[in-house]
Symmetry: C2
Subunit: 427 residues, 2 copies
C-alpha cells in the first residue's frame, strides 16, 4: 500500500507551528507496518489545495489530509476536495445534529459559522470526531482514497486510532505487526549502535529502527508478524549483551521515569545536590506526579558558598581540589544525605561551558557521586565537547542512572560508550 | 518570487526526526519578506527524489533542498539532481582540497567515502560550507533554481545566512524588510492577542505575525519597507499600552534571559526556593552561561520537612495554612534570602496536578513570593486547568517575571490576562 500525507495550514507552512502531527502520524503508521512515502505541506489557498490533492491522485492508495476542517474562512479542505471531485458541498444532517447536541451539552448555542463544518463533498463518507466539531470524511478519486482529519492534535490522534487504523486494516489487509519492543540507550551514537547491532541476525519478521531523542537513542524492534518465541528471546539477550551498560531501560520513556518507579516501589528517599545541572535532576523527578513521596529535597549549590553552607563541603577541599573534583562531589553527596536524612543522595559538579574549561579539566568534564548506607561511589566522566545544554542533559541522565543502578543492585561503575571515565573512587 | 522547499531523508519522513529545519527556514525567509509556498518531504529513494525535483520545475523560482549531501550510500541529492539535469557527476577539486585540509587540521586522514561529497552535477555552482564536509551547490533547470543545503542544522543555518540570503537578494531584488520587532507575552492566547491588537491600525509596510512557543506567545512586527519613524513609535506605544503586563520583553528570547541580564548588570544576587517547579527556575538560569555570578543557591523544598529544615518555615504555618499558601511562600522566600544572604529570593509552591487539587485550591493554583530588602510581596494565581508540565512552566515564568519587575522598579502586582490573581499580600 502506498501511503502519503498532505499537511495544510499557513502556520505549519510558515514555520510558526512545528509540524509534530506529521511525525506522529508517520510513527503510528510505521508501528502498524505502513511506511509513509511522501509528505506535502501547503498553505490555505484553495488553488494550492486542489493542486496538492490532484498531485497524489492515482499514485497513492491512501492520502491522509490534516487540517482545514475548522469553522473559519481559511478552512478550505472540504471545498477543495469538492472542487477536485466536481461535486457540490452537501449538508450532512447527522453531523449537524451531533454538533448541535455537543454545544447543548456544554450549555452553549451553536453559531452559524459551525454549520460550515457539516458541509461535506457530496458522496463522501463522514468520519466521526467524538471530541470536537470538525468531523472527518473520506472520498475516493482516480484510484486514491483521501482521508480528512482535524488539525487539533488530540482530535487527530483519536480519529487515527479509532477510525483510520481499523478502516485501513479492513480495506487494505496488511501483515499487521504483533509487537514493539523499545530499548533506551545513552552514550552511543546512532551510527555506532547500528554498527554494533549489525552482526546480530534479525529473526524473520523483525525489523530494527532507531529514534534519537536527546540524550537518548531509542532502539525499536518491531515484530511485523508472529515471531518464534525462542528466536525473539535469543535476540533480546544478544542485544542486551552487546549494548551493555549503554542500555538504560526497556519499554520506558526515560531514566527519570525508571528511577521514579523504583524509588516508589522500594520506599527509599532521595536528595540531590546539583552544581552545573542547576536543578535539572530535581526538576525531572518533580515533573512526574507522585515524586513528593521520595524526593525529600534538592539543593542547587552553584556557588562555593552554597556548597559550604548547605552541604558542609570544607574550604580545604574546595581550595585544594576545586569545585569540580571527586573530593568535592563526595562531600556534597554525603552532606546532602546526612543533612536531609535520606536513604540516598546524588551530587553533580562539572564544567558545562562554554567558558571555564582548562587543559586538565576541559568543558564536558563532570564529577558525580552517590551516597548510600553502603558508602559513597564517585566518578569523573568526560561527556564530550558539546553545547552547555547537551552537557547538562547528559549529566542529569548519568546521575539518575547511578541512582537506578544502585536501586537495582548493579555495579555503579557503568560503561556508556562515548562517555569516557577519567577517574573514580569508592569511599 | 515563488519559493519552495524539499526536505529529504527517511528519518524526517518517518517522523523519527521532527523537521525543525523546515520551520526555521520558513521563519528566516518570512523575516526577509519571502513567503514559503509549498514544502515536499521525501525519503532517500533516488526515483522519489528525481520526481520531487521535477515536480517543482517551472513553477517555483527557487527550491531549497535540504539534506542528502553526506558521505553515505543513502545520501543521493547530488546524484538525483544530475539525473534530472541529464549530466554526470563531476569532481569539484576545490572542495576536495578544502575537505582534505579540514581533515588535516583535525589531525585525521580523509576517508575515501568523503570523496563522494565533492562530486557535484556537472555545471552546477559550488556553495561553501565553512563548518562541515557537505558543500552545498546550486543548479538551474527549466526556469527554476535548486539550492542544495546540508541536513545538519548548524551547517544549514550558516549556509542560509552567509550564502543563500545574499544570493537571493542579488538575484531576485525584493523589497527587503528593514526591521523586525519582537514582543514577548505571557498569559494571553493567540486569538485573544489578535483580537486585542486588531483595532490598532498598522502603518503602511508593517505586517503582524504571531509565534506560539510555550509559555510565550511572541508578537512579530515586520517592517517590509521603510516605515515613517513617528508612525512606528506610535504603534509600539499603542501595542505596549494594550498588552500591559502581559508584555514581558521586547527583542528577548525569554524571561530567564531578561532576569539573567538584569542581575548581571545590577550586581544583585538571588536565591530560589521551589516546591512544585522542583528546580526548574534555578535550572533555567543555570542554563545561561555566567549565572554563577548571581545565583547563590537554589533550594528545592518539595517536602514539608525540607521547607522546615532548609528554609525555617514554621510547623504552625504549614499546619494552619498548608504548603500552598501565601503564609508558607512568604516564609520560604524570607528564609531563603536570610539563610543564603542574597539580595533577593523568590519562592513558589503550588498544585501542579494531576492529583492534589481541592475545591478551594484546584489544580493550577500557585503561590509566589519575592523577598527583597524592601520587604516581601506574595500572590496566588490560578494558572488554569493545564497539564502538570504546562503549569510548572508557567509558574517558573511568573516567578522570574516577579524578579524582573522588581529589578526594573515596576509594580509586582502584574496583570497577565488569563492568569487570574486570587489573593495577594505585602509584608
Amino acid at each position: 500500500m502506498r501511503f502519503e500525507m498532505i499537511c495544510t495550514g499557513e502556520e505549519v507552512l510558515s514555520g510558526q507551528i512545528i509540524d509534530t502531527n506529521a511525525a506522529w502520524v508517520a510513527q503510528v503508521l510505521m508501528d502498524q507496518g505502513i511506511e509513509m512515502q511522501r509528505r506535502l505541506t501547503v498553505g490555505d489557498r484553495i488553488d494550492d489545495l486542489v493542486a496538492a490533492f490532484e498531485s497524489c491522485a492515482g499514485r497513492a492508495d491512501v492520502v491522509l489530509v490534516n487540517g482545514g476542517l475548522g469553522p473559519t474562512a481559511d478552512d478550505l479542505s472540504a471545498e477543495a476536495m469538492a472542487r477536485l471531485l466536481g461535486v457540490p458541498l452537501a449538508l450532512n444532517s447527522e453531523w449537524l445534529e451531533t454538533m448541535t447536541a455537543l454545544f447543548a451539552s456544554r450549555g452553549r448555542t451553536m453559531s452559524d459559522k459551525n454549520r460550515k463544518q457539516a458541509m461535506l463533498p457530496q458522496g463522501s463518507v463522514m468520519v466521526d470526531n467524538p471530541i470536537g466539531t470538525a468531523c472527518g470524511f473520506r472520498a475516493f478519486y482516480k484510484g486514491t482514497w483521501y482521508f480528512f482529519t482535524p488539525g487539533v492534535p488530540s482530535e487527530l490522534k483519536r480519529m487515527v486510532h479509532e477510525q483510520l487504523l481499523p478502516w485501513l486494516a479492513s480495506t487494505f489487509p496488511i501483515d499487521a505487526p504483533t509487537g514493539l519492543h523499545r530499548l533506551l540507550t545513552i552514550g552511543q551514537g546512532e551510527s555506532n549502535l547500528a554498527q554494533l547491532l549489525e552482526p546480530i541476525p534479525l529473526p524473520a519478521g523483525v525489523t530494527l529502527g532507531f529514534r534519537a531523542s536527546l540524550p537518548y537513542i531509542e532502539i525499536k524492534l518491531l515484530q511485523r508478524h508472529k515471531v518464534d518465541a525462542d528466536d525473539w528471546q535469543r535476540l533480546l539477550i544478544e542485544y542486551r549483551k552487546v549494548l551493555g551498560d549503554a542500555l538504560v531501560g526497556e519499554n520506558l520513556k526515560s531514566v527519570p521515569e525508571a528511577v521514579h518507579q523504583l524509588l516508589l516501589q522500594k520506599g527509599q528517599t532521595l536528595a540531590t545536590a546539583e552544581s552545573c545541572t542547576g536543578g535539572m535532576v530535581a526538576s525531572q523527578l518533580v515533573d512526574l506526579a507522585g515524586s513528593s513521596a521520595y524526593l525529600t529535597a534538592g539543593l542547587v549549590t552553584y556557588s562555593n558558598e552554597a556548597k559550604q553552607s548547605l552541604l558542609g563541603v570544607s574550604t580545604a577541599t574546595l581550595d585544594s581540589f576545586g569545585a569540580v573534583s571527586l573530593e568535592t562531589v563526595v562531600e556534597m553527596a554525603q552532606g546532602a544525605r546526612e543533612r536531609m536524612g535520606t536513604d540516598m543522595a546524588v551530587s553533580i559538579s562539572g564544567i558545562a561551558g562554554p567558558e571555564g574549561g582548562t587543559e586538565e579539566k576541559p568543558v564536558g568534564t563532570v564529577c558525580f557521586a552517590l551516597a548510600t548506607q553502603d558508602g559513597c561511589y564517585a566518578q569523573t566522566l568526560f561527556l564530550g565537547a558539546r553545547s552547555r545544554n547537551a552537557i547538562r542533559l547528559l549529566a542529569a541522565t548519568v546521575a539518575l542512572d547511578m541512582v537506578r543502578r544502585a536501586l537495582l543492585g548493579l555495579p555503579l561503575c557503568a560503561e556508556y560508550g562515548y562517555l569516557t571515565r577519567t577517574d573514580s573512587r569508592r569511599v
